[in-house]
């Protein structure tokens, strides 16, 4: 463990006893950002004055006896959440100078609890990418090996937690963007059920898939953040209006007799042998803890990538139509007419991957192709969701256990010339978004190069608690979540 920056639970305890102040903790994070981030590029914007002011307020609030566990905790926020008056770029030239006129519900809730926002983290442009290389602000380096990607799209949030630049961070996940970078940087990342957390004020990528979640050093920290993030929001009609359970209580439950499904389709061709071995070791740990492991089949698994890469670009092409150079964002110089303004503004403001997905999405929605691609993909999406529902029901499962990614962190530049090979790296995570299920990635080993390996726990709709129970039992029994990359230059 990196002793320099505590976990959220440790920090909350130290703040509560007065052993540590929020100002001290915030200064420690800012000092590490200044020293270590030049070689990582995890942050797009650091807000030192804002963070220190919030930390002072948090300390005063605590002195008045009005603190809760998040009061005074320094967090890093993916640069996809609108933060009022604090630049929000979404990793794009299009929004290079955008100052949101309003605050996202997630950050508003965290700020209301007294959390300190250190700054905004780097990400693939508009969250489209699996390696952080599509960011207009340059790629993020993996703290475990600076020549490798931290994964994406929440790569900056992942690297910031792994390198101890913050106590915890917030990411978003449309096809694996919390879980895959969590796996590649040796941290814990939780994507809640679609609708568990409000999307209000998140820059939209694919509205039927996007979901915000915590990225933390361990699953206890994830539970603490989710407790504050989850819940109904009148500003998001898809935010589910059901009570938020006590996630802390879920951590303390036993996994004895808990039924865990292991789908054969996630262990086929393409899975690196070292990752396979690490996941098999996870199943042994659960068996020793008294869980009931059950082989299952999810036969629609292999259709998830084509389905996702029709639906997500279709929704993206529609959502990104708002970037027209008129109300906010980049505008080209000297447009000769309105059409020229649109076409050149968008050509200049968007990077290659975003343009590729807009083109793909526009194509599959265009007249003559809509039924063959988009409608077809929506039907297959239902089959994928039913696949999961059937497995949970027939085998009476609490969670499903899989690898998070087929391999450990790949080299910067290794896949970014070939969109298809990049898309294939999402194979174990995108099914979950299509079905709207909650899932977490937790660290479970290091490969021969010393790079982190992650495993995924998938839960039933709104049953984040089962993931927390299973995740916490694993982290109580093992040490992988304590591994740290150390301070490399």
């Amino acid at each position: 463990m990196d002793a320099a920056i505590p976990t959220l639970a440790q920090a909350a305890r130290a703040l509560a006893t007065g052993e540590l102040s929020s100002v001290e903790l915030t200064r420690a994070c800012l000092e590490r950002i200044e020293r270590l981030d030049p070689s990582l590029n995890a942050f797009i914007t650091v807000d030192a004055p804002g963070a220190l002011a919030a930390a002072e307020q948090a300390d005063q609030r605590r002195a008045r006896g009005e603190a809760n566990p998040l009061t005074g905790i320094p967090l890093a926020i993916k640069d996809l959440f609108c933060t009022k008056g604090l630049r929000t770029t979404c990793g794009s030239r299009m929004l290079e100078g955008f100052l949101p006129p309003y605050e996202s519900t997630v950050t508003a809730r965290l700020r209301a609890a007294g959390a300190v926002v250190l700054g905004k983290t780097n990400m693939d442009e508009f969250a489209m990418g699996s390696s952080n290389e599509t960011s207009f602000f340059g790629p993020v380096a993996n703290p475990w090996d600076r020549t490798r990607t931290p994964g994406g799209s929440s790569g900056g949030s992942a690297a910031a937690v792994a390198a101890g630049l913050c106590v915890a961070s917030i990411g978003t996940d449309t096809g694996g963007s919390i879980r895959q970078p969590a796996a590649m940087t040796g941290i814990t990342g939780l994507k809640p059920t679609y609708g568990r957390v409000s999307r209000f004020g998140m820059v939209a990528f694919a509205s039927s898939l996007d979901q915000a979640g915590p990225m933390t050093r361990d699953i206890r920290d994830a539970a603490m953040l989710l407790q504050e993030m989850a819940g109904h929001d009148p500003m998001d009609s898809t935010a589910i209006d059901t009570p938020v359970p006590d996630y802390g209580a879920a951590l303390e439950r036993s996994v004895r007799g808990l039924r865990i499904g292991v789908p054969e389709e996630y262990f086929g061709e393409g899975l690196h042998p070292e990752v396979r071995a690490a996941i098999e070791q996870v199943t042994r740990v659960y068996r020793e803890l008294g869980a009931d492991l059950c082989p299952i089949s999810l036969p629609m698994t292999r259709h998830a990538i084509p389905t996702y890469y029709i639906i997500a670009p279709a929704e993206a092409s529609s959502n990104l139509a708002r970037y027209d150079g008129i109300r906010f964002g980049h505008r080209c110089d000297q447009p000769k007419d309105l059409k020229d303004l649109y076409a050149r503004t968008r050509a200049e403001g968007f990077g290659a991957e975003v343009k590729r997905r807009i083109m793909l999405g526009t194509y599959v929605l265009s007249s003559g192709y809509y039924d063959a691609y988009y409608r077809k993909a929506q039907r297959v999406r239902r089959l994928i969701a039913e696949d999961f529902a059937r497995a949970f029901r027939e085998h009476d499962l609490a969670v499903i256990l899989t690898p998070t990614a087929p391999e450990t962190a790949f080299r910067l530049g290794e896949k970014n010339q070939d969109p298809v090979s990049m898309y294939l790296s999402d194979i174990y995570t995108i099914n979950v978004n299509l079905a709207g299920l909650p899932a977490a990635s937790l660290p479970c080993g290091l490969d021969a190069r010393g790079l982190p390996i992650g495993f995924q726990l998938i839960g039933r709709p709104l049953d984040e608690a089962a993931i927390l129970t299973a995740g916490h039992a694993y982290q109580q029994a093992t040490q992988w979540h304590l591994a740290s990359p150390g301070e490399q230059p």
Partner: protein, 95 residues
Amino acid sequence: MSITEQTIRHVATLARLEIPPEEIPVYTGQLSRILELMEQLRAIPTEGIDPMSHAVEMTIPQREDRVVNTDQRDLMLSNAPDQAEGCFRVPKIIE
């Protein structure tokens, strides 16, 4: 399904994206390759399957019909690349 350069030009127009002529073949090749990946879906029988547009089955909630946003005109204009007299300004459309 392979895609032609003419289709790429048409889609770029629909998407309001200027694509320089030398990049048309690049998009044509990349999109064709991506669409090849999609072809496997054709073989899946989906007759009678209801298309799924959202992960959660729910009805759209309704709220009371009253104004909650007060006047924020100047705030909303503050990010505009060009504005005049409280309006967004665009190039002339009709000569």
